[in-house]
Symmetry: C2
Subunit: 282 residues, 2 copies
């Protein structure tokens, strides 16, 4: 009989933000103690509450050495991974040996960066797993999240947004859009969701787009065909704060395909702001 998959030794490569730690705690809570790879300058120092190793970007040999020493089988890559600049890297011998594989990472979209990184782990014999596989409790559910329900107008906006994101999928671009009264107000690309929402807030303040009161829906969904183990869209309390500033009516998330960080604070913030949050069938 094969080893139970969830018993396989697990490592989490932690990018920036608090979310990787939440995933690590959820894995621990479900009885699967993770080993953490922290990236100097990116990862939260609180990773030291777990067994861990710190590496500089480019210390590929050191990282693989630490993972193999602990017989790690599964690796999750979680958190903000910024495309590093060549000059910021500290290549070790393990990186130089893999130079032909690493070079392509410096070209193309963010999705390709992560796909490339995942491929390097896989060629090294690790299985790459998604945060949602080790912490499924963090996924957006179907239906309302929090106290408010979406109006029928908001549902129509959510449908337009979902269709637009599907059309954008082949271009490895954004995972977010704001639609109000069926009009597309903002489309996310490299700036990220929070910056897009700040732009909507500015457009409304400058009366460049005009609506009475709360209007519009933030729609978040992964790119179609995207490898959900990598770079799954993630929202959190800050998303609600930004949506509130943009005077939106609510947020629509592709159920089972968007991660919610700090669910309790997220849901409470939405209720306090008077925003609906809904998971829709992707």
């Amino acid at each position: 009989m094969s080893e139970r998959s969830d018993a396989r030794p697990l490592a989490i490569l932690c990018g920036g933000g608090e979310f990787p730690l939440e995933v690590a705690r959820a894995a621990r809570a479900s009885g699967r103690e993770p080993f953490i790879v922290g990236v100097v300058g990116s990862s939260d120092p609180a990773i030291e509450a777990f067994a861990h190793v710190w590496v500089h970007m480019g210390q590929v040999g050191k990282m693989f050495g630490a993972l193999k020493e602990r017989a790690v089988a599964d690796v999750a890559i979680v958190g903000v991974m910024t495309r590093p600049e060549f000059a910021d890297l500290r290549f070790d011998w393990g990186a130089l040996k893999r130079a032909p594989e690493l070079a392509p990472l410096f070209r193309g979209g963010d999705n390709r960066l992560l796909v490339g990184v995942a491929g390097i782990f896989e060629r090294e014999g690790f299985r790459v797993v998604g945060a949602h596989e080790i912490a499924p409790q963090l996924l957006a559910p179907m239906g309302p999240i929090g106290a408010r329900a979406a109006s029928s107008g908001a549902e129509a906006d959510a449908r337009v947004g979902a269709a637009l994101l599907a059309a954008l999928s082949p271009f490895d671009a954004g995972q977010g859009v704001v639609v109000a009264n069926t009009r597309v107000i903002a489309i996310e690309a490299a700036e990220g969701t929070d910056a897009m929402l700040a732009r909507v807030a500015k457009l409304r303040a400058a009366r460049r787009v005009r609506f009475q009161g709360l209007a519009g829906v933030l729609v978040k969904a992964p790119k179609r065909g995207q490898d959900l183990r990598l770079d799954m869209p993630t929202v959190g309390p800050r998303t609600i704060e930004a949506a509130r500033s943009a005077q939106l009516q609510g947020v629509a998330l592709a159920a089972g395909r968007v991660l919610i960080a700090d669910r309790q604070a997220f849901s409470r913030a939405a209720d306090e702001a008077g925003l609906f949050v809904v998971g829709f069938a992707p």
Copy 2:
């Protein structure tokens, strides 16, 4: 025999900016003296160099009266048309009579606003013509504009951008995108091209997107199926200034489907900034 089309009395409804005047001068230069409808608070006072009438937004009856008095047959709608707020309108009797036609203008995307306005002119017996029909010399030509040529990398970026804009077409969203090294950096929606380019400049300054030196192409094209008599994408010297601030390599325009304002200054600014400008087959 029917009247020659270009001899038909012509009016230009002038939105904001200097471009409507350039179109009016081009029409005059080609021997077709236009009558100008100026919108108080929007149109450049320099329209008074032409036969003209000033109207407040909502003075639909006054406008149609002036056009009919001069036996105007063709109407071009040129320049920035902002969706007015209800409270800013000064409805006259001619507007109240047409209230059922005007009401839908306050819903939907910008494209639908203009299509709605055009429909009202047409039902009144006018023919709506595009700026490019009365001033074809303002259209982007095929091939290089200015002194520089596009690199093969920049041509690849332009192709990605053109394909993305085609995919966005059904959503009545933006007409511009920035692509660098085949990565989609920014997509335009309600904020407009200049604001999108300012965002790219900011992302680069903050090193949120990183490229060595000049990188990336602004691609402009109309939405597929868009009525080109209305709201044809327009670039000008300010576009070059914004593209320079974003450290782009150049600008790609759908030939015959994008208008260039102030071509001489536009071309000179591109040369001075070291940017290529190219018209591509749409």
